[in-house]
Symmetry: C2
Subunit: 399 residues, 2 copies
Amino acid sequence: MQNFIFHNPVKIYFGKGQAAHVADEAAAVRGPVLLVYGGGSIKRNGAYDDVMAALRRAGSTVVELPGVTPNPRLDKVVEGVRLVREHGVGLILAVGGGSAIDCAKFIALGAGIGEDEDLWDDYVETGRPAPEGLVPLGVVLTTAATGSEMGDAAVLTNPERNRKLGYVSFPLTPRFSVLDPSYLLTLPDEQTTYGFVDMFCHTCEQYLSLPDDDNLSDEMAEAIQRHILRSWRACRRDPRDYEARSNAMWDSTLALNRVISRGKDEDWVTHGIEHAISAYFDIPHGAGLAIVHPHWMRYVYDASPEATARFARWAVNVWGVDATGKSARVLAQEGIERYVDFLRRVGAPLTLAEAGVPSDPATLDALADHAGEAGGSYRRITRDDARAILASCVEPVGF
Amino acid sequence: MQNFIFHNPVKIYFGKGQAAHVADEAAAVRGPVLLVYGGGSIKRNGAYDDVMAALRRAGSTVVELPGVTPNPRLDKVVEGVRLVREHGVGLILAVGGGSAIDCAKFIALGAGIGEDEDLWDDYVETGRPAPEGLVPLGVVLTTAATGSEMGDAAVLTNPERNRKLGYVSFPLTPRFSVLDPSYLLTLPDEQTTYGFVDMFCHTCEQYLSLPDDDNLSDEMAEAIQRHILRSWRACRRDPRDYEARSNAMWDSTLALNRVISRGKDEDWVTHGIEHAISAYFDIPHGAGLAIVHPHWMRYVYDASPEATARFARWAVNVWGVDATGKSARVLAQEGIERYVDFLRRVGAPLTLAEAGVPSDPATLDALADHAGEAGGSYRRITRDDARAILASCVEPVGF
């Protein structure tokens, strides 16, 4: 296995009623708590009431920052940074999904850098590491999708510049995260679906990459993928099934807490291209992934014998494709087809048009420019490759 | 899934040359470093030289505590506590396997409790939680077995009282662990074998327990078990194969870093009975496990339909038993038989006599008294059950 460092100190409180622990965590810091959240969903699913009750028990002063949008934006972060400084906030508490969490992470970063530094230009665009000693961050999670609750990554949109960028730095890691699956029971179907697309995609972006060795990470990634597919079906059968929702919630966290990327090159091209799309068109992240991911697969699965063999293994071990008498190439194609069929069945968009995204040459050029040199493991994706993948998104993948 | 808390902040430096990071870690603390190790193996496998070079770079003063024995003992811990207090030690660094690590954990605990408290009577025997603020602990691992490098558990032997007890408390968690697989390349065959028995057993003791739900932990436990068996075969084919050794090392850490016990009752009866054996007879821990584990399996696999179904699933998913036309009971038995055959092939003892342990009634009584009420999930194991399991260890498991 390749050398690596693993360090994930997030304390996870998992299960029904665990938001009560917010009281202990809030009592352990000095200063008010900044509550970062989105629209009204946390007031309907019970999370807001549970958190406020815990904070009352802790005797905390609460400053609220509602209104974080999906694909969270720089202006909301700036507003949060102002509140942190003004009130001397001691704990930033994100209540919601990836948007609230990522917004809160950037608020912590923005409040921790020098007054003469610019959050966007000096950190997000450059990837410069965050300083230590940021205001601590807590999470009360209300979706199953992002993985941000147990990780050091976050994504921010700068709508003025049509930029949406990922940023990874250890100090953004939350101190604790509450994962109460009962908050998922009222999640709209569309969000459930896109959450599953996101977490499944995360596992693939670690698993479908070099090196081609016998790595436990791959064996575990397959286990998580199979389990995600089971949880997905169970949540569709009965969205109010606590067991299914709890499985979805832990699946999504394990999908991106870096356990299954140890020793892997990883390949985040699909996320890179999707970020380009939602930088310009405000579509759900999961919808963009459902469009791009299979098209990326078609573009890279035959890049090398190693790539084809890995896609073939994926088809057999995750999708249950019968390998009898089939070449690796055919198996790989069948796996991708199964995936596309599954996405179609759950109602995810398979083309840009289905998500209302135009595919005229000027748009494709702009998106490809944003994706730029997108990286890649089995196949290095240049700006022109990204454009070719985007151009192929006008029709569903088929062979 | 059942509610749980997960918190594992150990920083892992994995791979060749990673002991160099000991320099940064040592530089981050004040006070000398107490080096805890066993016999001479760390001077042959390169770990000692690497660590000393790193500590020299950090400018650390080093206090040495060699001579930790397998099944580490209370008297060595007392010696270490004295050194910590005498020298104002700032970092306890275990270099070795489970014995060195567990000894170091108890030294940290012993140095952190009140002068009027007794480490053995007040903590190990009672399970009373360790205080916060212990002297920080680092690990440079030279075996693949224990899991102690990324966990809060440790085991200590009190030879005067013929007691060997496990102890679990969060403050015993190491701050960092260096996992360099090249230190395994010279590991004697017997230690390699017993290490694999230990890690495989750990995964089973989490997986073979209630509840009977669709838990990702189980799917991942199977993945780890399959991978352990592959790594085991690869290490036997070529003990100097870095790839195989690196897989073994990460397998063993993932087997016991609490990821696969989330939502599980767990069942540590096998370890409990083994500790009884090695409290009286100084045999390798892995040898004791190889004897007890299949006999425990035979004792519990038909305790309930859930138990039998789980053993059957294990037989199919881990051992590759063909399920066609077979009852769960037959599958479960075939799985256990495959395990016993495998242990026989790798040269592990299958009976008490093979390990030189007597099985006269007085001995069995003493061992059963030590095991006591051993807990259990599918089947609650009383003192008399433990005696029955021990009594069955006079011949290999068969059906």
